[in-house]
Amino acid sequence: MRVEVLDGNPESDRPGWAGRVSSWVRYPVLGSLLQTRRACVVLSVVLVLQLVSAGLGVSVYQCPILKLTGVPCPGCGLSRGAVAALLLDPAGVVWWNAFGPAALLAVVLILLTGLLPERHRRAWVGRIAWIEQKTGITNTAFILLWLYWVGRLVLLGGDLGGRLSAYP
């Protein structure tokens, strides 16, 4: 199955940088990612294992940037933030990564997509891609995650690396 980029999008028809930025932001990342059932199943297994290990306080996948430099990457703390969101712990979410609930939502979407029967799965993925192309929600969330990372680095400095290196 191929997710086609919507035609006639007024934003992407706009010439110059505004149109280009709009087409980047509206690229359906999740829609492309979930095109095959195999990708959904592999991603679901990997992400659920990551969340379970984070919940158990075991560091299975370690961020190489944090490990090598002590500086966290934008995604550091997302698994633990997602677990905190799952446990309805807002303080934990803010402590680890405020985008944890968004990461949890993405995992749930991927898991659901993997479990759906093929006919429904195709329609479901098409709907996700359509929403992404219309709203640019996924890439906007990524951009906000990056800005949040820069903000945290500026405000917390070296404390952030120490906080995210220490496992609960």
Partner: protein, 87 residues
């Protein structure tokens, strides 16, 4: 034994690091805008996006090597954690 496994993870991590840098470069080169290159700065997101775009970027071999390195590192982490807990 634990120290040996820890040492083994260093070359694997270095290969993974090289693959990650290559993915960032390809993302900036092959895409019209900087969005994907910037997103790939987070290695986990870079790994996922690299697989999404691997055919478009003609980047399958690097992604396979990178994924293998990540899997080996995860296995090593599990073994080291289990061995540390047991000793």
């Amino acid at each position: 034994m634990i120290a040996l496994l820890g040492l083994l993870s260093i070359p694997v991590s270095l290969v993974a690091l090289v693959c990650w840098i290559m993915t960032i470069i390809v993302a900036f080169k092959k895409e019209e805008g900087p969005l994907f290159g910037i997103l790939c700065i987070c290695p986990l997101i870079g790994l996922i996006l690299g697989w999404v775009k691997n055919k478009e970027w003609d980047h399958q071999k690097v992604m396979l090597v990178w994924t293998a390195c990540v899997v080996i590192n995860i296995i090593l982490n599990i073994v080291v954690t289990a061995a540390s807990a047991a000793s």
